[in-house]
Amino acid sequence: MLRTKQLTKSFSRQEKTFEAVDHVDFSLDKGEFCILTGPSGCGKSTFFHLVCGITKADSGEIFFNGEDITNYSEKQLTELRANKVSYILQGDSLLSNFTVLENICLPHKLCGRYEGLEEKAMELLREFGLDTMAYDYPSNLSGGERRRVAIARAFVHGPELVVADEPTSDLDEENTAMIMDYFQRQAAEGKTIIISTHDLSCIRPDMIHYVMKKGVITRA
């Protein structure tokens, strides 16, 4: 499903160049649930940006479903994000001007996808216990509720791969467990999921655990 080969991305900081992602070889099969841990600043978000086509790699290759997407055009990458790869941003990523239901549906409608979207969104909201808040604005939601809405938005259009950057940060145990349970169920249904976290208590036996340090990813 997802494979990287010698993937490298470097940045300059205070006139020094450092490799945020350093020759990473990584692979993930369909239906696998992978957790990536590592200290802050080790390059997790940059790695996620690379595999989602948000940032261009300096060198190396990225394969998605066997196809080399490293040199995809902006248009191709946009289509990939719109249809196959869902990225859940770190922190609060809801649009404050839109209701919960709109937050889930409008971005996908902007990409031209309408069919069954609202029904699926309501289904997900029910699953997350948020169906009564469908017409509330994000400002009326707690941190955990917002995070669940962002996850519902990432899954509503049925992507093949979901990449979530610290989806449980700042959440209590109950919310963390609810989200991790959902990810696990989705993986069991064939979705490929990769998340990053600092919270090692999130790790469950059937997950694949990778550790990232100074731009290098190794299997734990």
Binding site: I54, S86, L95, F98, H108, K109, L110
Partner: protein, 401 residues
Amino acid sequence: MITQIVALKNLQRRPVRTWCMVFFVFMLAASLFMSSVLVDSMEASLEKTVNRIGADVIVVPKEYESSMADSLFMGELCNFSFDSKWVEDIKNVDGIEAISPQLYMQTMSASCCDSAVQLIAFDPETDFIVSSWLEDDGIKMPGRGEFIVGSSITPGDSGTMKFFNVEYKVIGQLEKTGTSYDSCVFMNYDTAQDMMNGETWVKFFGETPDVRQMVSSLMIRAEEDMPITTIAGAINFKLPDGSPVSAYTTNGIMSDAMASVESMGSYTRILMGLISVLVVAALLCIFTITINERTKEFGILASLGADSSKLSGIVLTEGFMIGLAGGLIGTAVSVAVIMIFGGTIVNVMELPQLNSDIAYMLMLGLRCTGLALVVSVAASLYSAWKVSRNNLDALIKGEEM
């Protein structure tokens, strides 16, 4: 359609920012609309006045040509005159087809008169101006003691008007022309003489002049193909040195008014250009500041697969909606002001008239709204371009564009 919904929601959920921007566009549209109505009304009134006069050359007392122009254009009251003996010297000039005297009198704002208006006495035997208006409007020639009134004059319930304590019968009202003639009262020379013979006139002015000896303006129509400047020149050449009168072409007598209106139009256009630039600058600043605060919002949309054209489309649509709202509100408020306070504006600004024709205002409203749209969309172009050009990584991180 979804882009419009997203843009509309963004505007609705940020009412202060939205109304600030709409206010700028509103000011532009309203000032453009109002100033256009003022300038267009002045120009139209001037053109109508020149066309309505129907004379090619006008002879008036020297140094009274500006009073004549003010009376014709602005409807200011006047009562100058010269001795009718000069008419004999003028009427034999070559190229004159018709010649007719008019006498101007003004009534008073006193209990003796219904109102202070301009009275114009004409000679039905030679007249080629008032008689043609009467013919067009199907009104018979006024006899002794009878008035014809302009469209702005309202006679009493009994169909009479009182001037210098004498009641006169109003036998007809002219159609609205949008000129100062709308507020004039017309009569023949006999009626004028009767008025001057009246007790109250004598009490006010101390004498009873012979109206046949008095001319305020001598209206002249040139023969076809005869250059009117040649006739005006020939009249002035024929009049002896020291004569108290002078001949002017109609355009010549109105030239100061024409120049004033023309310069007013130029100033207005410059002012509108400056206001447009200011509004573009203000909107550009607001758009740029707010777009910089919204980078994460665009980053979220882009990370979910919205392409750059969709993102810039949202910004442009917001600009379009602000322009449309500002333009329509500006136009609607301006129309309401003109409809409700048109009379007051005319009085306070001493205008001859204000064009409140619905078709004209509709067309002008479309123009003003169109300009408001162009200005607003132009102001949002830079932000739209920035959003579409910025890299996604920076957008997601909320970095300044």
